[in-house]
Every structure is written in C-alpha cells, then in structure tokens.
Amino acid sequence: MKKQCIINTRIIDPGNNIDQIGGLLINEEGKIEAIGAKVTKDNVSDAIIYDCKDKITIPGIVDMRVFVGEPGFEYKENFRTLSQAAVSGGVTAVATMPNTNPVIDNVSTLDFVKRRSRDKSTIKIFPLATLTKNADGKEITEFGLLKLRGAWGFTDGLSCVQSNKVMDRIFNYGKNKEILIIQFTQDNELSENGVINDSLLATKLGLKSIPAIAEQIIIERDLLLLEQYHTKYHIALISSKESIDIIKKAKEKGLKFTVGVSINNLSLNDNDIGDFKTFLKLSPPLRSEQDRLALIKAVKEGIIDVIVSDHKPEDEESKRLTFQQAASGASGIETLLPLALELFHNGSCELNLLIKNLTSNPAKILGIRNGTLSVGSEADIAVFDLNKPWVLKKENILSKSKNTAIENRKLQGKVSKTFINGKLVFSE
C-alpha cells in the first residue's frame, strides 16, 4: 500500500482532545503515522494526497447497536450490504446484535458470524452474544467461553431480561467474568402488545401504548443490582425524560455505568407517525417532543454517553402491514452522522461532543482500540462535508432494506471519504 495523506483538513479527535487544522499521514501498513498541523503537502513525499479543504476528518464512527441479518435474515441485510451502507455514512466499526436466527448464544454460532464477517465485511464487526440462552431470559449463556471466543458484550438485544433472579445471576456471574452487560430496558408486562408512546395520539389511533414507566422500572431495578455488583453495565437505549432523571441521580451518586440513545429518538417524535406510518414504528417507541428535547439536553450534559443508529433493516413484507402487526425498527446506519449533525446545525449540541458520542465513547465502552486517531492505530477514518445539503431518497439507500424513518428529509452534512485500515473504502 502506498502512503496516503489527508491535508488541509479540520481534524476532530475527541478521544485525544484534538481539534485543529492540519493533516494526517497513513503509512504503508494502513496505520496512522503522523497527525497534526505539521503534516502538510510539503513534508510528505511519495504519498497519495487528498486535499480535504473545508472538510472535517474524524475517527471512523463506532455504532454500538446494529442488526445484521446473518444468520437467518439474510434477505434483510448481510455483511456485504451492511458494509456498503455503513461506509457511506462514515461508520467503520459496529457491534452487531445477537438477535439472529439462530440467536448468538453459543460458541459455534459466534464462530460462524466471525468467519462470515471476516470474509464478507469491509467494516469491523464486534459481535455481541445474548445474556440468556435463546434470549428468553431464563438461563445465562456461557459468558466465559463466549468472551474468550470473541463476544465483545452481552445483551438480549430486542428483549429485556425480566426475571429479577436471572438478572441478579447475570450481574453476579458477569462481574466475575468481567463482561459488558447491555440491557434493553423494557418491562414486558407493562408494554404488552404496546406499539406506540403512551399519549393522546395512542388513544386517537386506537393503539396500545408502551408507557415510559416500563423503561424506568427496569432501569431502577438494574441500577439497584449494579450497586451490589459494580460490574460493566450499559443501558442500550433510553427514550423518556423520566429515565434521564433516574440516571442523572444515580450518576451523581457515583454509580458507574453508561447510557445510549438512538438517533431516532433525538430526531423524531411520536407525532411524526401521523396516520399509521409503520416505518416509524420503533422500539423503544418515539416519544413526545418534550422527551426528545430532554434527551438532547442529556447528551449535552453528558448523562448520555453514546448515540447509536439502532440500525434494524426490515424487508417490505414486514412493514406493509397494519401498525399493530408491522415489524419495529428502522434502517439508519447511513444517516446516523447527518442526523447527529442536525443537532449541531440547529444549535443543540457541540460538534466535538457529538463526535465523541459516535467514536471514542462507544469504543471505550466496548473495550476496542478503535474510535480515535492516535498515532500507531489503524487508520479508520471518516471525512465529511459539514454543510453539504442533500435529501434522503429511498432509492439511494445502500442497505438491503429501505425502511428509513426519515424518507425525503433534508439533511445537512455528508460523508465524502471513508478509510478502513488505511484503505479508501468509500469516496463520493
């Protein structure tokens, strides 16, 4: 590989507290050789030069919540289509959810995913395994073995461990094995058959709701257990203002844990559902505008650590149903960064903080080396134009499934180049 050099760019690397104009040199092995103001066209020789004037260079985005269809749902998304979608959005590493068919609850399925992703994926795949066998919340999986064989964290993904006894065991045994526990926080009974936020709209549409308390009750329980075991615990997604209040109090008390939020809950509210738009049926559900604003504030205050795409590709047949029957989730890995930039453009959030929530923070939680532009690290890089206006059209979506929640939305900011291990994998 020839040396490559990105010059004249604004480098933002929150993991290393860098925000400056300069350049970045990628060596023959695809590693970052030098970074900073000194790296200019004149002091590198024999390198491919990318003049990225007026563009911003950041570490490749690390997306902590991504559903890929392998194995079992290849018709919704495979590693190849996921990769092409991801790199177009500047995402270079993802944690994949174990809700496949069969679910990733044992070493052989994990091995399969690792081999498939090694052969087919351009982006870096960090598989997660389930907390319980078959993700049914009853018996814990082989945390130790799975971790040894490359599970980066444990979550039942789409479902939440309901039993207090099982959750207690998970914390207890999980602490022993030093695993990362990721919980989708939702009480099954309080959200039974629910498909939408508990609001006037739910009554108008005649749909069963998922009240915010279904989320809070699990967060409260898990934080009580965490106080006993002090292990690595991450709340996958929060959706309501009330959850923020609980988390804020616990963090102020000194409890150590991390929290994620879906970009969907930061960018949309339940009124966007209108007359039964199934593409906006999400889990957790979109909530009120007050909730959305509270979530943005929580990002700003550092109560939330990670922003994820919650990329959940669904084929047309799963969405062309009544709202009650339609699958939940939206494809969104391609628009994670542009939607996050919306929060910068409308003055809600600092740019550096948003980038931190998309790169170094998720990398740190997962315990992976990515997410920064440190010298010597693998050159996983995204370069984007902060201001470029564009409109998301369904036909331009690169993911295998086209179930975007933001069709025809006017966006500002677009990725122009993505590198993985120093290789230019996307260029507009």
Partner: protein, 316 residues
C-alpha cells in the same frame, strides 16, 4: 330542507374511514339521506335500483352478526351484488397479508369494500391499495363510523335534535371504537359528551377529546338525556381490568337505581351485542319506555344505505 342541503353540500371523500375525517355538513348530508331510507325500509317493497350493477364486498376479519347483516341488507336493498367474505376460514389464516387479500379482491373490480378488522388503521391501509371505495365497519379500537352515524340518527329520531343534549357513554371506553366515533360525532353536532367507566378502562388522555370523564357512574349520569352502554371488549384485553363481573355490575351496570340520576326521560342505547346482567339490567334493556336499542338496529340499515349511495354518487 334535505333537498337544499343535498345541492349545497358535496361529499368530498372516496372512502368512509372515520368520523374524524368528516365535516358537519357532510354528516348532516348522510343523516338527511338516511331519513328517506327509513321510510323506504318500512314499506312493503324495499328494493331500489340505485346500485344496480355495482359489486359490494363485505370483508370481515372479526365475527359480526348485526353489522355484517346490516351492510348486506343495505347493499341488496339498493340493488348491488353483495358478497360476504368470511375470513376466519380463508387464506388469511394461512399467512396471506391484508394487502395481498386486498389486491386479490381488487382484481375482481368491486365498487365498494366494507371492512372490519381487529387492527386499528386496517381500513386506512386497505384504502391506499385498492381502487374502490372503502367503508370502515370497525378497525381495532379506533373507529366505527357507521355505528356513530346510526346512533346520531336514532337520537335525532327520538329526541328531535342532538345539539344541547347530554350524552353519557358508559363502560369499556378504552377498547371501544364505538366510543371514539361517537365522541367525534356527538361533539361535532353540539352534544355534551360524558364518559363513565372504571379508571382502568378509561384512556389516560380522553378528556383531550372534549369530554368529561367520570369514574362514579351515578355522578356521571346526572342530567343525562341519552345513556349509551358499551360492552366489555374482553377479546381485546390482556388480563383483567376489573376484579369481577359481579363488582363491575355493582358499580357500572345500568339498573333502575342508577338510572334515577339521569333525566326522567333519558333513553338507553347499546351498540350490541349486549351482555345482560353484566353492563345492563336485563329488564331495563327491554323496557320499551327507556330502551331504543331495537331502533338503533333499524336506523343501522338506513344509515348504511345512505353511506353506500353517497359514496357511489360521489364516484360519478
């Protein structure tokens, strides 16, 4: 008066999906048209040729006796060819989606599709996929527009007006599409609407619909002109919302004691099917001085004839 309205008002919808989409003149147009059909239905020769050559399909995903037969009769009396689709035994059960069924039926070129479905929004979804007019005969817990129209018609026939009346809707408000459609319609026509039921069966934001909510039935019934009783929709419930039917009967069933709180000439309605001894005292339900439940059924056919006719005229 009816003639004046007819020439002045244009019904602008291809479908009847819910009361929430209608305007006051449009509602009045339907009610005025219905009046003529009430007369017709009482005559010996009830057959018209208005819908000759038209095909009406009744696609019912939920069991129904009165609504299905009412729509069937309405179509036939207007001269349409009417087909009933019993979905409980069809390919839907074998995994065909609602849209596939719709596309199949659409290929048979129907003019009217009457649909009842257990999911809210099903009629709306269907209307986006077929070429013919769609009538919502009840979707999940959302709307049942023809029921509200026939209720309004019944009240008008019995009380001479709707404006200014106090109407109390009692029972399982949460799971009731009838309640929602009636709230929209009665509010539109100037009635004062109250809803009464146990708090577990009361939607949290119901007062935003412009009604007053009561959990004490005797208080709620005070000064009512009309009492609409609703059935407990056990098929839509997950678990129990009230401790027992005995307790429910004690506090929320309409009996001779509780009805004393309403006006002396208050009338009782029920969309059916009725659970005697659960939400209503059986002799009260049959009290000819009080109960207008049978009239509701009569109005049902007339109102549905009016709806079918107006939608087909609109198509021309």
């Amino acid at each position: 008066m009816a003639i004046n309205l007819k020439t002045a008002v244009k019904f602008t919808h291809k479908h009847l999906l819910g009361i929430q989409y209608l305007s006051i003149p449009e509602v009045n147009l339907i009610l005025d048209e219905s009046l003529a059909f009430v007369e017709l239905n009482r005559q010996e020769n009830k057959k018209l040729k208005i819908l000759n050559g038209k095909t009406q399909i009744n696609l019912f995903f939920e069991n129904s006796t009165r609504t299905l037969s009412s729509f069937e009769l309405a179509g036939k009396r207007l001269g349409a060819d009417v087909m009933n689709m019993n979905v409980a035994h069809s390919s839907i059960k074998k995994g065909e989606t609602l849209i596939d069924t719709a596309m199949t039926l659409n290929a048979m070129h129907p003019d009217l599709l009457v649909i009842r479905h257990q999911d809210s929004g099903a009629a709306n979804l269907l209307s986006q996929k077929v070429n013919c007019s769609v009538i919502n005969a009840g979707d999940g817990t959302r709307e049942h527009p023809t029921q509200a129209l026939l209720d309004a018609m019944t009240i008008k026939m019995k009380k001479g007006k709707i404006e200014g009346l106090r109407v109390a809707i009692c029972g399982d408000i949460m799971h009731s599409r009838v309640a929602r459609s009636n709230i929209y319609l009665l509010n539109m026509l100037g009635a004062e609407v109250r809803v009464i039921g146990p708090s577990t069966l009361m939607p949290k934001y119901i007062e935003s619909f412009g009604v007053k909510a009561f959990t004490d039935m005797e208080k709620g019934l005070e000064g009512s002109d009309i009492i609409m009783m609703l059935r407990m929709q056990t098929e839509r419930m997950d678990g129990s919302y009230v401790p027992s039917t005995r307790e429910y009967y004690e506090f929320f069933a309409l009996d001779y004691k509780k009805i004393k709180n309403a006006k002396a000439d208050a009338l009782i309605m029920h969309p059916g099917p009725m659970n005697r001894g659960i939400e209503i005292d059986t002799s009260l339900a049959d009290d000819i001085n009080r109960s207008i439940i049978i009239q509701q059924v009569e109005m049902g056919v007339a109102v549905r004839m009016a709806v079918l006719k107006i939608l087909m005229e609109n198509k021309k």
